[in-house]
Symmetry: D2
Subunit: 83 residues, 4 copies
Amino acid sequence: MTEAGGIAAEALRSYIERIERLEEEKANLAADIKDVYSEAKATGFDVKIMRQIIRLRKMEEHDRQEMEALLDTYAHALGMIRG
Amino acid sequence: MTEAGGIAAEALRSYIERIERLEEEKANLAADIKDVYSEAKATGFDVKIMRQIIRLRKMEEHDRQEMEALLDTYAHALGMIRG
Amino acid sequence: MTEAGGIAAEALRSYIERIERLEEEKANLAADIKDVYSEAKATGFDVKIMRQIIRLRKMEEHDRQEMEALLDTYAHALGMIRG
Amino acid sequence: MTEAGGIAAEALRSYIERIERLEEEKANLAADIKDVYSEAKATGFDVKIMRQIIRLRKMEEHDRQEMEALLDTYAHALGMIRG
């Protein structure tokens, strides 16, 4: 194991390069996601609403219902008209 | 104007120190905001819902209505029941 | 205490409005910070380097020295030439 | 093409599901990256320094040298001792 300044240089390089490969794959996926949103936008869909829908779909149905009900209650208490 | 490595050291220091003071004030405000949320939470309010309400209140009424209507349309199209 | 859907509407409004005021002040400070960076940039300073300097100045001197030494060791182990 | 509230429900579902699959893959990669950092940490490497090294390795050599030199100049002008 080559040592450089008391550290295992090869081990460090291996970790760094593994992380760099994974980060590159992650960046590619982020670009793919961006492409799908652009495709959807080009066919007339609203990207902001799609993102909200995706956030909502991550929630359990009953949690989502509870959140919506509480949001209505708070909005009503503050005189805000909701959808 | 003292020069250090070809740069105006005093001017640099003044900019840096002004930014540091402003950032400190900003950090204090962030702490104050956190305190108010903690106070609200302690009296039974839901912090996540409060944050959503604050985001909604930043929107113009008609923009908000439009967003809610579109969210309903998309949710309905995907078979999601909304509040 | 007026109740709306079982919640204390006035208390909620007070918390929300306090947070909104604090967030507005915070946004103003963020704008002030941006202005100072623009001023510095206009006089020839490098904003990215200024941000790094401000991050470094937040660290204790010995922590900073330790970090720099370790950064040198890792960079050297990976064959990177540092300043 | 089934319509729901005037939008192409199937097209929307397809975009949403494609994004959800890609986001899941991306989240898995983020978890893999986190695992590699944990592995490296367990063998004694400093994760913060590794992240800095990875940021530096993304830069062109001459850009990195220029940044380091300017950082030294600014630090020196402010009386900060660098590594």
